[in-house]
């Protein structure tokens, strides 16, 4: 195994310390990360496929006796590497607030209602070409204690594995044209504007289902493993 994942791809990520995001101040390393060559340990990664996922795990609206309250949505997209190759059979996990901006989590103190018909967790496996799909409810914005009048833009948390331990990605998918973007230190922790735009889904009219659900497209681009520049096609 001779290929190496490019480390300059990591420049798209936020720096560990982003003082506007107060929780990062005591949790970011002070010392520089130590560069190292990728060994077999870094170049391999866990393989979890369909046996990990139960039928219906990708539909967050059918996990309880009734339907959750809120705006039904379809979220789909392509998991690929930065060389444009689809990443098949990759586990994609999501978690999110309900339509009122409230998480099931015991530590969520936001005084908005819980929905007995919504847990807000799902998972799926990308198909042979790298495509994935969820059905859910559009999450609400929610307040947090970072600064006065701080509200998170509506988002869905996503976790993806990819081909190796160094392609592991946890991110958040945002919705287009959210007025809270300029004020959110987590969204703005990504220094490059074009990179920030890659965290925003696009409205997908073509795959919106009449009389049923709006569709959003969110492609997930993981690190690639050779030096071939990205081709647009």
């Amino acid at each position: 195994m001779t290929f190496i994942y490019r480390t300059d791809s990591n420049k798209a990520h936020p720096l560990p310390l982003s003082p506007e995001y107060k929780s990062s101040i005591k949790r970011a390393p002070n010392k520089a990360l130590i560069p190292m060559r990728h060994t077999l340990s870094e170049l391999t990664g866990p393989v979890y496929g369909h046996e990990t996922v139960r039928e219906g795990d990708n539909d967050l609206t059918t996990q309880h006796a009734g339907e959750p309250i809120g705006e039904r949505i379809i979220v789909h997209g392509h998991v690929r590497d930065e060389d444009g190759r689809g990443v098949p059979n990759s586990l994609v996990e999501i978690w999110q607030a309900n339509s009122c901006g409230r998480y099931v989590h015991v530590r969520d103190q936001h005084p908005a209602p819980l929905d007995p018909n919504f847990t807000g967790a799902g998972r799926t496996v990308s198909d042979a070409a790298g495509y994935y799909r969820f059905v859910s409810i559009k999450p609400g914005a929610y307040p947090w204690g970072n600064h006065h009048n701080a509200w998170r833009p509506a988002h869905i948390h996503l976790s993806v594995f990819g081909h190796s331990f160094v392609t592991r990605l946890v991110t958040q998918m945002y919705f287009p044209n959210d007025p809270l973007f300029p004020f959110d230190p987590i969204f703005n922790s990504v220094p490059d504007e074009k990179a920030r735009a890659r965290m925003v889904s696009s409205f997908d009219l073509e795959n919106t289902q009449p009389e049923w659900a709006l569709c959003y497209r969110f492609d997930i681009v993981l690190r690639g493993k050779n030096a071939t520049p990205m081709e647009n096609h």
Binding site: T2, L43, T44, V106, I186, S189, R196, M199, M230
Partner: protein
């Protein structure tokens, strides 16, 4: 399915936030089926069964209760459960991956086996080690580190430990608890005894 215009560059990381536990980590606190546990053990796995445990601390020395650790490791023969590792895999159901959330006191624990030696890119053996990814509220991207074992003579010649200043190597080496198959290592995200994290 149509392809949208392909953006160049990867999707940036964002924090797991404070509310990931019901979706990601095991142990049944919430009514959602766990995909993972904090154990890599399978009935057919060979090798010494061990526990790796410790606590996670922030820059003030306070326990971090909302952290998630993932481990990835070879089997006792130093082979990975991934088709990209072309060598034969006798431990057919061994996966080598586990996930654990920290508790209110910052504790984590994994049940696993002692991994074997894995070759470095030059074919020289690395000392037995476990890869760790550390996620948490306040962490905009996860951090990569490694756990080595205090009773391995191979640590002295390990090419990755050799990259680490000598006075920081101890932050990567789990200490065997006398008389038990248990290794302990605390992780410190920041400060004087800060854990070594790698740029990979």
């Amino acid at each position: 399915m149509q392809d949208s215009v392909k953006p160049s560059g990867i999707t940036p990381s964002q924090t797991v936030g404070p509310f990931f536990k019901y979706g990601l980590t095991p142990n049944g606190e919430y009514a959602w089926n766990d995909a993972f546990t904090n154990s890599t053990l399978t009935p057919d796995v060979t090798g010494e069964r061990i526990r790796i445990e410790g606590r996670v601390f922030d820059g003030d020395g306070a326990a971090v209760p909302d952290c998630m650790l993932e481990i990835w490791q070879a089997d006792a023969q130093g082979r990975f459960a991934d088709p990209q590792d072309k060598r034969a895999l006798p431990n057919a159901s061994f996966r080598g991956f586990a996930r654990c959330g920290t508790d209110k006191d910052g504790n984590y624990a994994f049940d696993t086996i002692k991994p074997g030696a894995v070759p470095d890119p030059d074919g020289k053996p690395q000392a037995p080690h476990v890869l760790v990814a550390v996620f948490g509220r306040g962490m905009l991207r996860h951090l990569y580190t490694r756990i080595y074992f205090s009773d391995e003579a191979g640590n002295a010649a390990d090419p990755v430990l050799a990259l680490v200043p000598a006075d920081r190597r101890a932050t990567l080496i789990a200490a065997r608890v006398a008389g038990q198959a248990v290794y302990r290592l605390d992780l410190r995200l920041q400060g004087g005894e800060e854990t070594v994290f790698f740029d990979v």
